[in-house]
């Protein structure tokens, strides 16, 4: 049986897929942010072991394709006896991916806080945790906001790769619709437009923040 798809049917289905893209992005970004903080603390910790381990973690995730990371999570977890859906595997994979990148971005921000701030707070007899809490992190946070917003664009785009392990987000929905309607030009045009509408405002906002903070400093 052939069903006729009107343009509106295509758009409606794509919007449905777009919802999952958005959901996956939010989950990966929030959980990835939390995990990224942990990796960041390990990366700038006093312990050599933690530093090396977190550095290796970041390098592995930045030096391998996201697609491979998703495959390994997807197939690795099912080996461990956990029956995972593509949705869970994609969420875990993208969370790990995001955490590695955010940790590296934030490390740069922490390190850009001048040495004098550490020395001044140490001379006020602050402990490491106090220095972090009251002196370093508040300043690093300000610097960190623009690149963090900028990276969220990478997360949105990264979710497209989850279509390959079978998660029905925007790209996967687009592929299925292209096969059903024989109108790949229009369908993938709409899919691209969907991503653009999600990403472009974020890009503009990141640029705006960057400019604002540059003026402020």
């Amino acid at each position: 049986m052939f069903t006729q798809f009107s343009t509106w049917d295509i758009v409606r289905n794509l919007l449905e897929g777009g919802k999952w893209t958005l959901a996956l992005t939010l989950i990966a970004f929030v959980l990835g942010g939390i995990a990224g903080l942990l990796v960041l603390f390990a990366r700038i910790a006093g312990s050599r072991l933690l530093q090396t381990a977190s550095k290796a973690y970041i390098e592995v995730f930045q030096g391998t394709p996201l697609l491979m990371q998703l495959f390994i999570v997807f197939f690795g977890l099912s080996l461990a006896g956990v029956d995972v859906s593509p949705w869970v595997a994609a969420a875990i994979g993208l969370t790990l991916f995001t955490s590695a990148y955010l940790a590296e971005i934030w490390r740069g921000c922490v390190e850009s806080v001048s040495k004098g701030q550490w020395e001044a707070s140490a001379s006020l007899a602050m402990r490491y945790t106090e220095q972090m809490r009251y002196v370093i992190l508040p300043q690093a946070l300000r610097i960190a906001i623009p690149p963090t917003v900028g990276f969220s664009v990478q997360v949105v785009k990264g979710t497209a790769v989850a279509s390959i392990i079978g998660f029905a987000e925007l790209t996967k929905t687009g592929s299925m619709l292209a096969n059903a309607t024989f109108q790949p030009f229009m369908v993938f045009g709409f899919v691209a437009l969907g991503y653009f509408f999600l990403c472009y405002p974020l890009s503009l906002y990141a640029k705006h923040l960057e400019r604002k903070f540059h003026v402020a400093r």
Partner: protein, 222 residues
Amino acid sequence: MAYQFEFTPVFEHADLLLKGAGFTLALTVTGAVLGIGLGIVGAICRAWQLKPFNWLFGAYVEVIRNTPFLVQLFFIFFGLPSLGVKMGEWEAAVLAMVINLGAYSTEIIRAGIIATPRGQLEAAASLAMSRAETFRHVVLRPALQKVWPALTSQVIIVMLGSAVCSQIATEELTFAANFIQSRSFRAFETYFVTTAIYFALAVLLRQVLMALGRRFVIGRPA
């Protein structure tokens, strides 16, 4: 019963993986050379505000940077044929990589070009250098020197991103991995080894590009 890891079926197909890795590298090198070339053209148009090309390149950069590579690839491979532009999976993969890298390198190189100090241009003019000489020696080379590390990172990102080209049946490294996985049913082992190969490729590519940069871009006095 605990799972028994079995890597033998993967290593039996080592030749396929090596061939795939070779193709991934070939794709990357082609994409990088053409993509950076496109980026230089785009950066010139943007930096010198050549109308209407600066506007066109600006739109191009925003569209490419705000959509996923996978969608660009699908659009080129599945979408363009309905406009009569048909191409094989290799051509589509290379084209997608060139277009993708072209957009990023336009922005990267533009940043290098607009950072040219004014005094340098005046000095070049006072030495009676022609426009072409000035551009080559005073603008472009120092710009590439400044942004070479960023370009290197972007090329590596594109190489890693090329894994999704397997989805249009380009027979690169991930395609080889998918094939081995479907024969051996050893998905985890196959992708584990493949991931390690990608990691090695990324490390290798960084070393080679930095060495090339030292030799040809940064090394000689501008």
